[in-house]
Amino acid sequence: MIGKGWKLAALFLVVFMMGFVVWEIRDFGEPSGKAVDANLDDNQDVENGMLVWDDETGQIDIYDETTDTMVQQDRTMMDDTFISDSVDPNGTVNANNVVTAIVFDYRGFDTLGEATVLFAAVSGVMVAIRVAFPKKKEEEGGEKE
C-alpha cells in the first residue's frame, strides 16, 4: 500500500512539473513578428502586413495592405527568427552558430534524450555482460580498482 502511494505521489509530481513547464512556456509559439521588422538584405519591409500561406512555394508570404500586393519572402519568418535570435549578440540564445543554437537550445530536449539513450545502452551492456559471466566478474580488468 505504501509503495503504491509513493508511486502515485511521484506520478502526480511528474505530471505537475510537466504542466508547470507547459504553462511557463505557453506563449512561446505565438508569432513574434520579428521577421517583418528584420532589416535583412533580401527581405522587403512591410508597414501594414498580414501573413498569408503560399501554396505554390510552401512559404509564408506577406500581404501588403497599403499597396495591395503580395510580398514574397526569400526566407520564412521562422528562418529569420532562428537566424537573428541565434546570432544576435544581445539575444537570449547567444550561440553565434545557428546549428549549435538548434541542437543545444531550441532542440535541447532532443540532445538530452540522445544522451539518455546512450546511458541506457551502456547500462544494458554492462548488465548483460554481468549476467553472462557472473563468476569471472572479479577477473575482468579494473573491477577491483
Binding site: 512556456i25 546570432v87 537570449t92 553565434n96 546549428v99 538530452l112 546511458f119
Partner: protein, 164 residues
C-alpha cells in the same frame, strides 16, 4: 587477448596524442565550428577501440569510466535545470553577461564584402550554457563508448584474457 604486432603498436603510440587532441578540439570548439560533444566523443571512443585492439585487454578502470559518464549526464541535466531559476528549461543564463568564463560577448558577425560571416568568429569562452553542455555531452560520450567497447572486448576475449 593477445597484443598485435609491433608495427600496429608503434603506429598507435604515434597517432594516439594527435587523435586525442583532435577529439578534444572538436569538443571544445563545439559551439563555434562543425562538430560538438557527440562527434568529438565518438572520435576519442574510436581511439580507445584502436588502443584496445593494438595493446590487448589491459586493466581498464571501469568504475572510473562509469563515474565520468554519470557525471557528464548529471551536469547536462543540472545545467538545463539551473535555467529554471531565471527563465525556462535550457535557458542560457550565462551567455552574454560579460562573465569572463563562458560569458564573453559575441561580436555578432562581420560583413566581408557582400557576404556575412556570422559564425566561427567569436571568443572561445562564449555561448554560456551551450559550451558547458557541449563539454558534458563530450565527457559522457567518451566514457560511454569506451565502456561499451571495453566491456564487449573483454566479453569477446574472456577465454584468453589475462588482465595483464
Amino acid at each position: 587477448m593477445k597484443e598485435m604486432s609491433p608495427i600496429v603498436k608503434t603506429i598507435t603510440k604515434i597517432s594516439f596524442a594527435a587523435i586525442f587532441l583532435f577529439g578534444l578540439y572538436i569538443i571544445l570548439h563545439g559551439h563555434l565550428t562543425p562538430g560538438g560533444g557527440f562527434q568529438g566523443g565518438a572520435i576519442i571512443g574510436t581511439l580507445m577501440a584502436l588502443y584496445l585492439v593494438a595493446f590487448g585487454a589491459v586493466k581498464w578502470r571501469k568504475k572510473v569510466l562509469s563515474i565520468i559518464e554519470s557525471t557528464g549526464l548529471l551536469v547536462f541535466i543540472g545545467t538545463g535545470l539551473l535555467g529554471l531559476t531565471t527563465g525556462y528549461f535550457f535557458f542560457n543564463f550565462i551567455g552574454g553577461t560579460d562573465n569572463p568564463i563562458f560569458g564573453q560577448q559575441l561580436n555578432g558577425g562581420e560583413l566581408i564584402g557582400d557576404v556575412a560571416f556570422p559564425s566561427n568568429s567569436a571568443p572561445l569562452l562564449s555561448s554560456g550554457t551551450i559550451s558547458i553542455m557541449n563539454m558534458a555531452v563530450g565527457l559522457e560520450v567518451i566514457a560511454a563508448l569506451t565502456l561499451i567497447i571495453v566491456t564487449m572486448g573483454l566479453f569477446a576475449f574472456a577465454g584468453s584474457e589475462e588482465g595483464e
